[in-house]
């Protein structure tokens, strides 16, 4: 089981679209895949048409009183399951803080699933918190989508500094650009160079495309309604590069 965390300090950079589309592609090649929607907003759950609610709430789950196994929901796709979001996740920091070894809690919860899944994709909420530190300690790699702007590069530097300061430099940071508009000069200029130390830049980038936005209308992964679109192909290339990096 490999755990990928789709993460960025900033919100609105295409994290959920990345998590959902990568998961769908992984499942498509036959790997049993689980998406864990950690964001209380529940966008990934929405895309899979699953109610953002877990039995007993997030607190019991984090405390280990309920096995993750019981909370998993099958999606409409083969080999692909979802652990839905829950509104109570907004207090997850507090609950984690009360646990023993608070930064390793998520990893401990995930371990029993290692026989059932080949890939786990964590769709993480933005900001740096105890939740994100848990995610960093659980993940085999961080997949970081970013909009090609100066500010994005700055938040990436913040992430690397955080990892460095918490003895987490060993976690590979795989960064790529999403929502790229090739008509914008700034985007092209930022694309040309990603000069952040400690980051492995991926060559694939996701173009800004209405098809990606349509995911909210279709409530389904991109490749189910726009296969062969530029964005769908870009996610495939992204997956290849991530697998090579793993």
């Amino acid at each position: 089981m490999k755990i990928l965390a789709v993460y960025n300090i900033k919100g609105g950079v295409g994290k959920t679209a990345t998590a959902v589309n990568l998961a769908y592609l992984y499942a498509g090649v036959g790997l049993r895949t689980l998406v864990w929607d950690l964001d209380p907003q529940g966008a990934a759950s929405f895309y899979f048409r699953v109610k953002p609610k877990i039995k007993g709430g997030g607190e019991k789950m984090v405390q280990g009183k309920r096995d993750l196994d019981e909370l998993v929901k099958g999606t409409d796709f083969d080999n692909l399951d979802l652990l839905p979001a829950d509104f109570s996740y907004r207090h997850m920091d507090l609950v984690l803080g009360e646990a023993k070894k608070p930064t390793l809690r998520l990893l401990k919860l995930l371990r029993p699933l290692s026989e059932s899944y080949d890939r786990v994709i964590l769709d993480c909420p933005p900001s740096i918190s105890l939740v994100s530190e848990n995610v960093f300690r659980a993940a085999d790699a961080l997949v970081v989508p970013m909009i090609p702007t100066t500010l994005s590069v700055r938040t990436l530097q913040q992430l690397v500094a955080f990892l460095h300061g918490h003895d987490l430099s060993y976690v590979p940071v795989l960064a790529f650009f999403s929502m790229v508009d090739r008509r914008k000069r700034l985007h092209l200029e930022t694309l040309a160079a990603l000069p952040v130390e400690g980051v492995r830049p991926l060559r694939a980038y996701i173009p800004y495309a209405s098809a990606v936005e349509q995911m909210g209308v279709h409530r389904a992964p991109l490749a189910t309604f726009a296969p062969g679109s530029a964005a769908a192909l870009a996610y495939e290339q992204l997956l290849q590069e991530i697998e090579t990096a793993l």
């Binding site: 498509g28 090649v29 036959g30 790997l31 049993r32 899979f48 048409r49 699953v50 109610k51 909370l71 998993v72 929901k73 099958g74 409409d76 083969d78 080999n79 399951d81 080949d118 409530r219």
Partner: protein
């Protein structure tokens, strides 16, 4: 159980009508299906409680691995080609790991061809999410060889979605309400197998004869020979077609056992007949030997590669090509022999003798002896021979002497296995496993020696055939060195293994089970 067979063609129509009243449905148009149930000759996936289904054609095959009786897949993959062996799938292919541990070196055979029509209906919840998948199928099955076919009727396949199992319960109660009875729960694999007279999981090359110690030896021996003949016969077609190397292997083992039985338990079958068939079985061993040799080297090949340092591995490829081309040639020759009149008549004649009446009056000296008596005496004698030969072996004994010991051990093992039902299972099991331990060590010793020798012979042959690069010969030299090193290791373990049989405790166990009772009045 997620599968049900409808008893009438009206049932699915009634069910669908009622479902439309109660649930929110998404109905996909009916379409034709074509596929297979795949498993090894000895049904290893079935034996592990799983079913591998394939659907598709050309360069699109959808493979579904699922538990027997369940429509919730363990894994679903799309592949451009149907794998024949687990090893045909790419190294990281998740399906390879799933099925490889069960299949090992056995090929996947298209046991059952399925065709028919399917209508997929999804029950949706208020979010528009599928919470239960329902397939209504009309199926027809045909055996893999195309000889038999059968109508399987109308089926209901219910694939529950994880976390939404309550919808399955709701549908099941609706089903009973509509049909006014519970339909027959049955996996279509089992229905198809029954309709085509297939018996999943029945084949085993292992010996399992239930004997009565008072049974006349001739009857018992003929029964064992008949069992061995059946194993031999069922493997002929697969060995001729070279589906995988185990067919020929099992065929050869059954032949060797039969020959060993005729040799070791003398005077039970009429001597003239026994001699004739011993020769006939020796001929079968001879004609099957060259192909088996090539199979052995091809099976050993992945291990050879691993034993070499990474940079040298690619140099070995010409050896694999050499083995493949010679294996194909030998296998073609073998197919002709196994299809020959001589071979077919041999099996027919042997069967008619074994199924014929017992000799009345007996035509051989030991024929009327109770098998319990005869078996113990033969096993005890062979055990003493193994001890004698083993004790004569020292650190410098030639390989040929170890080979003789191995042959005797094999004979002893066969004897015990033929007659094991005459003895307490646990005690006899313990002795067989000690014997196996010794045989493994002797086998490792001899295999390494033979392979080292044979690889040198192949190297010469490859040079004679021309075009072999020197790097390949160097890599083969490294293999030979490694084999000789492993041979020396095996020799070191030999004394320990042998002492488990030869020691006082081992001897007592053998004596207690097999030694004939001392005649009255004899000294203890």
């Amino acid at each position: 159980m997620d599968f049900y067979r409808f008893s009438t063609a009206d049932d699915p129509i009634a069910l669908e009508r009622r479902m439309a009243e109660v649930f929110r449905l998404k109905v996909q148009p009916e379409r034709g299906i074509r596929g297979h149930f795949l498993d090894s000759f000895d049904w290893r996936l079935y034996g592990s409680g799983r079913v591998l289904e394939e659907e598709g054609s050309g360069r699109r095959h959808r493979l579904t691995l699922r538990p027997l009786g369940s429509a919730a897949p363990l894994r679903v993959v799309q592949r451009a080609a149907l794998p024949r062996f687990a090893a045909d799938l790419a190294e990281g292919d998740p399906l390879r790991a799933d099925i490889g541990a069960s299949l090992e070196i056995r090929a996947l055979l298209p046991w059952i061809r399925l065709s028919g029509r399917r209508k997929t209906i999804s029950i949706l919840d208020e979010e528009g999410k599928r919470v239960l998948r329902i397939d209504i199928e009309r199926l027809r099955a045909r055996s893999g060889d195309g000889r038999k076919d059968a109508v399987l009727g109308d089926w209901l396949r219910l694939a529950p979605v994880r976390g939404y199992e309550d919808w399955l319960e709701r549908l099941e109660s609706l089903l009973v309400e509509v049909l006014e009875r519970h339909p027959e729960p049955l996996d279509p694999l089992l229905a198809a197998a029954a309709a085509l007279d297939l018996s999943p999981g029945v084949y085993s090359p292992k010996l399992d004869f239930r004997l009565d110690p008072q049974e006349r030896a001739e009857a018992a021996v003929k029964r064992i020979c008949l069992g061995l003949l059946e194993t031999l016969e069922v493997n002929v077609a697969g060995a001729r077609a070279d589906l995988d190397s185990e067919f020929l292997h099992d065929l050869r083992v059954a032949t060797r056992r039969a020959r060993s039985l005729l040799t070791q338990v003398k005077g039970v079958i009429e001597p003239e007949i026994a001699e004739r068939f011993k020769d006939a079985f020796a001929w079968v061993q001879k004609i099957t030997g060259p192909t088996r040799d090539m199979d052995v080297y091809l099976l050993a090949y992945p291990g050879y590669l691993k034993s070499l340092p990474e940079p040298v591995r690619a140099d070995l490829a010409p050896l694999r090509n050499f083995l493949h081309s010679h294996q194909r040639r030998e296998s073609k020759r073998l197919a002709r022999q196994l299809g020959s009149r001589r071979f077919r008549n041999l099996l027919l004649e042997w069967r008619s003798i074994l199924e014929g009446p017992l000799g009345e009056p007996p035509t051989a000296v030991n024929a009327p002896t109770p098998i319990g008596e005869l078996a113990g005496a033969r096993i005890w004698r062979m055990y003493r021979r193994v001890r004698r030969e083993g004790r004569a072996i020292g650190a410098d004994s030639p390989a040929a002497q170890l080979h003789e010991l191995r042959k005797s051990c094999k004979k002893l093992r066969y004897l015990i296995e033929f007659f094991r039902s005459l003895y307490p299972p646990e005690e006899v099991g313990a002795l067989v496993s000690r014997l196996k331990g010794l045989l493994d060590t002797l086998g490792a010793f001899q295999d390494c020696q033979v392979q080292a020798q044979q690889l040198r012979a192949y190297a010469e042959q490859m040079v004679a055939e021309g075009g072999v690069p020197p790097a390949t010969l160097l890599a083969m030299g490294m293999l030979v060195a490694d084999l000789l090193r492993r041979q020396a290791e095996a020799r070191e373990g030999l004394a320990q293994r042998f002492s488990e049989l030869d020691g006082a405790e081992g001897r007592q166990r053998f004596e207690a089970l097999f030694a004939p009772a001392a005649p009255a009045g004899a000294q203890p």
